[in-house]
């Protein structure tokens, strides 16, 4: 297969019956699978075989789904094109000269190319929605805490969630039904000590059933701030889809979130800071690559990390280390946290005016392979519409809105905290 979708093709059968019996699922290669190597798209973990299954993988197996392989991704999730993978880039099934988006590029491409009915991706700053938009499929980033992260190899642990990808909203929502729910091994999914809730929000929810296409009376808020920098062709397709929602009975209003102009900077400072700590464990002592050179342990660590990590990963570890260092912590990390709090507050206010918020998922059409790698800053700016959602711990979905120049355009709908059902309902109307 020339698209380079899988890092490892291996079939793992699930239980005989269950809600996903007979369905095939591709799993992003940063989700731990017992006995099947989990590389995170990195030479560092090329040979790493986890001794345990991630909670979402356990749930997939119990649902009757068959896992067909581990999908390619940007190294440790750091990228938006799947080009930073140590295993080479994945091509976009819609147009093989273009990137599939990332970092869950392999997962979105697997569904778009018909290699799997469904796929699991992970979304730290847009990594499910971005490739879903570029490959013309549906991807959901759940509210932080809806889905267990146990077994998801951390990049930026305060931001990321495992998310489903499918060819329709209902398919993706059915996979969300399977993977969501409290997990005693992930404290951020536990609400048993929370004052706000007495049960996990997935309890009593039916996400697939919410995909009923009924938006009559729903208020959709268009975030005008995020249209300004976007490609005209993208905006045009987006606006046509929004008009269609209005035609189906939705109220459409404009909303503005001033704080969003700081989102990309805040996101990268936080994500890189957390990454510098999360990736510290790859030192060659317990698992993964070890160059095994002689010398003191400090030199051996440095050597292993020099060889095992790619350029983008090194860049983010260095910047994150810098942002957390004494003397810079207040200037960068603390400021980014302040911005994050402000963004959360802006979203709260926006949800007083609208039930769901809408933006184009990506401000651009899928780039050509190799086009964006040379300019990391340009790449980071591509995340402007997706990262605010992660900073605010909110749910969002990318659903195909149409095509521009023969390339898919995604529409992003953002829901309030644990408001997945409303968001899914609105997204299914976009498919009408």
């Amino acid at each position: 297969m020339s698209l380079n979708i899988f890092v490892t093709e291996e079939t793992v059968a699930g239980d005989d019956d269950g809600p996903l019996a007979g369905k095939t699922v591709a799993v992003k290669d940063n989700i731990s699978t017992e006995g099947v190597r989990t590389t995170c798209g990195s030479a560092m973990l090329e040979e790493y075989v986890p001794p345990y299954d991630a909670t979402v993988v356990e749930r997939l197996k119990a649902s009757g789904a068959t896992i067909v392989g581990k999908t390619n991704m940007d190294e440790f999730g750091m990228g938006g094109t799947t080009e930073t993978s140590a295993f080479g880039p994945t091509k976009n099934p819609v147009d093989e000269s273009r990137v599939p988006g990332g970092s869950s590029g392999g997962s979105a491409a697997a569904v778009a190319a018909g290699e799997a009915d469904l796929a699991l991706g992970t979304d730290t700053g847009g990594s499910v929605r971005n490739p879903a938009a570029f490959c013309g499929v549906v991807g959901i980033k759940p509210t932080y805490g809806l889905v267990s992260r146990y077994g998801l190899v951390a990049y930026a642990n305060s931001l990321e969630q495992v998310g489903p990808i499918g060819s329709t909203v209902e398919d993706a929502a059915a996979l969300l039904d399977v993977i969501s729910g409290a997990d005693e091994r992930d404290a951020t999914t536990r609400f048993d000590q929370s004052a706000e809730m007495d049960a996990h929000p997935a309890e009593g929810s039916d996400y697939a059933a919410a995909a009923d296409g009924d938006v009559d009376g729903l208020t959709v808020g268009v975030i005008t701030d995020l249209l300004e920098g976007a490609d005209d062709r993208v905006v045009e397709t987006f606006e046509a889809a929004v008009s269609d929602l209005r035609a189906q009975g939705a109220d459409v209003v404009d909303v503005s979130l001033e704080s969003l102009e700081h989102a990309v900077q805040a996101y990268y400072v936080i994500a890189m800071s957390e990454a510098s700590s999360n990736l510290a464990r790859y030192d060659g002592v317990r698992y993964g690559l070890s160059t095994g050179k002689e010398g003191n342990w400090n030199d051996v660590y440095a050597d292993t990390r020099e060889e095992g990590f790619g350029a983008e990963v090194k860049r983010r570890i260095l910047l994150g280390t810098y942002a957390l260092s004494a003397g810079y912590h207040d200037k960068y990390y603390k400021k980014a946290q302040d911005a994050r709090a402000w963004i959360k507050q802006d979203f709260d206010e926006a949800f007083a005016e609208a039930d769901v918020l809408a933006t184009p998922t990506m401000p651009v059409l899928p780039p050509e392979l190799g086009e964006s790698l040379s300019d990391p800053l340009q790449l980071y700016l591509m995340d402007a519409n997706t990262v605010p959602v992660n900073l605010a711990n909110l749910p969002a979905i990318s659903v195909p809105a149409g095509e521009a120049d023969g390339l898919p355009v995604g529409l992003q709908l953002i829901g309030p905290k644990f408001g997945e059902e409303t968001m899914i309902r609105a997204a299914s109307a976009v498919e009408n």
């Binding site: 940063n30 989700i31 731990s32 989990t38 995170c40 973990l45 790493y48 986890p50 001794p51 345990y52 991630a54 992260r149 146990y150 077994g151 998801l152 190899v153 951390a154 642990n157 305060s158 005693e184 091994r185 992930d186 404290a187 951020t188 536990r190 000590q193 004052a195 800071s273 957390e274 510098s276 700590s277 510290a280 464990r281 030192d283 002592v285 317990r286 698992y287 342990w297 400090n298 660590y301 280390t321 957390l324 260092s325 004494a326 912590h329 990390y333």
Partner: protein, 496 residues
């Protein structure tokens, strides 16, 4: 740094401690691995994805560790925080599976406490700045040399994730003796709380900060200004593992620093390593680098609300209060009260025995006989925990007069400890059951009848004669009669 040549008498010692205490919980702080005797197991068998820091594993806080920390807070009269949270302390070290340690930073679970210590009759309150929870790293074994010279190093993660409490004192100590008294007291309190096992290797690890300040800058109440403290160069002494070690290490450091200053040399601000076997501290690195741990919030652990835990979690009566109560309630002297409250198990056992029998008898038996014989055998009460009812039975045998005190001590107690036998079995086997009155009366009559010469000597006023007759009676009763009683019965009979 100006090094004024001050004479040794003009210097006052200032010490602050950071004490790492292993908390006794069933499982590790962030995973389900057992902590029970983890150091005795095959290396790296008490591990799981979480405490090995495998990719994707997540920590989940053990409520048992939080409970233990709240107990420590209450026992130290500290403020237990309403909201507490965890941070990551980032540094690379081979014993640290994730290359960061999950610890607490800006919201420790306990702050602002005190512990009273007494040195040579003088009582002082030592301030506790903070006490926080964190995970223990694994342990390293250097092969073929020390940390610097080893051929290779083995790492064992069995200990990784054991809950630790770091207790940081204020710089309130004015002598090494005070640190020893504090640490002994702290151990005693922790043991009472049932969250600490002093016999466990590495259960207590101490770092000490020590400096000398001009004595004239110390107030009458022992207060020292922050300015004075900031001006003094201090050393941090690491690798201390006991309260005795702390006193020795710091006494060495006091002498070393005072000598330097009195010779007009500055004390270098540095970290020093206590070499227990050589009894000296050695410099670890000449230039003290301020480490940057890049602390930030651990997002995998949600903030913890412990506001109502403080009410819900009870702590037992602490040693000082119990000592005082023993003196009042049971009329014990200071020494006995102190011995009988040395550990919670001893105190509980004493109270159990005292309530069934006479408090004085109980005190003699528990404090003197039992603890004395255990101590002689280098044993602790914890070694005989499962046999305490047998010791109660022994006291019962004495209290009801079934055996003599002498036999109880010399034969039964020792037999119990040396051979592991039950008291009644020893009494039966050795025929120690106290002779009943009839048997003694008969033996007295026989002794008089069989020894007319001695009877004659007695009436002639020879004092030794009665002792001879007592010996005869004791022989006949196999030593089970009370010699005092026999003496009296003989005199009564002879004087008839």
């Amino acid at each position: 740094m100006t090094a004024k040549a001050l004479s040794q008498r003009d210097l006052a010692t200032v010490i602050g401690l950071e004490v790492h205490v292993q908390l006794e919980t069933d499982t590790k702080i962030f995973c389900g691995c057992s902590t029970d005797a983890a150091e005795d197991e095959e290396p790296n068998t008490r591990t799981c994805p979480v405490c090995l820091g495998l990719p994707g594993a997540l920590p989940v806080l053990n409520e048992g560790a939080v409970e233990a920390a709240v107990k420590v807070g209450k026992a130290l009269n500290a403020t237990v925080a309403e909201h507490t949270r965890f941070h990551r302390k980032n540094y690379y070290y081979p014993d640290l599976p994730k290359n960061f340690q999950i610890t607490q930073y800006d919201a420790p679970i306990c702050a602002e406490g005190t512990l009273e210590v007494s040195v040579e009759g003088e009582r002082r309150d030592i301030g506790i700045e903070r006490a926080h929870l964190e995970e223990d790293p694994g342990s390293l074994q250097h092969k073929g040399g020390s940390i610097d010279t080893a051929d290779y190093t083995l790492v064992n993660y069995n200990r990784a994730g054991t809950p630790l409490m770091e207790i940081v004192t204020k710089p309130d100590f004015r002598s090494p003796q005070e640190t020893r008294a504090f640490l002994a007291k702290l151990e005693e309190v922790l043991e009472y709380l049932g969250i600490f096992d002093a016999t466990r290797d590495g259960s207590l690890r101490i770092d000490a900060n020590i400096s000398m300040v001009p004595a004239e800058n110390v107030g009458d109440d022992g207060a020292i200004s922050d300015e004075t403290l900031a001006e003094a160069n201090r050393t941090e002494v690491k690798n201390i593992s006991s309260h005795k070690g702390a006193e020795k290490a710091l006494a060495y450091e006091v002498t070393r620093q005072k000598n330097a200053i009195s010779r007009g040399r500055a004390v270098e601000q540095e970290t020093r390593h206590w070499d227990e076997s050589r009894g000296i501290t050695v410099s670890m690195r000449s230039k003290e680098e301020e480490k940057d741990y890049r602390y930030f919030r651990e997002a995998d652990l949600p903030p913890l609300e412990v506001a109502d835990w403080k009410e819900k979690i009870a702590i037992p009566e602490l040693p000082d209060a119990r000592r005082e109560r023993f003196r009042e309630e049971y009329g014990l002297d200071a020494e006995s009260a102190s011995k009988l409250t040395s550990t919670k198990e001893v105190a509980d056992f004493y109270e159990d025995v005292a309530e069934q029998f006479d408090p004085d008898l109980a005190a003699t038996w528990v404090a003197d006989n039992l603890l004395g014989e255990l101590n002689y055998r280098d044993m602790q009460i914890t070694d005989v925990s499962h046999r305490l009812d047998e010791f109660t039975r022994l006291v019962e045998l004495v209290a009801e007069g079934s055996i003599t005190t002498k036999n109880a001590e010399e034969v039964v107690l020792r037999g119990m400890l040396d051979d592991g036998d039950a008291p009644d079995d020893i009494v039966d086997r050795e025929g120690l059951g106290a002779a009943d009155d009839d048997e003694v009366v008969t033996a007295v009559a026989e002794a008089i009848e069989e020894n007319p010469d001695a009877v004659e000597d007695y009436h002639a006023g020879e004092g030794g004669a009665v002792n001879f007759l007592v010996g005869q009676v004791m022989q006949k009763t196999g030593g089970s009669a009370d010699p005092g009683d026999v003496n009296q019965m003989l005199r009564e009979k002879l004087d008839e």
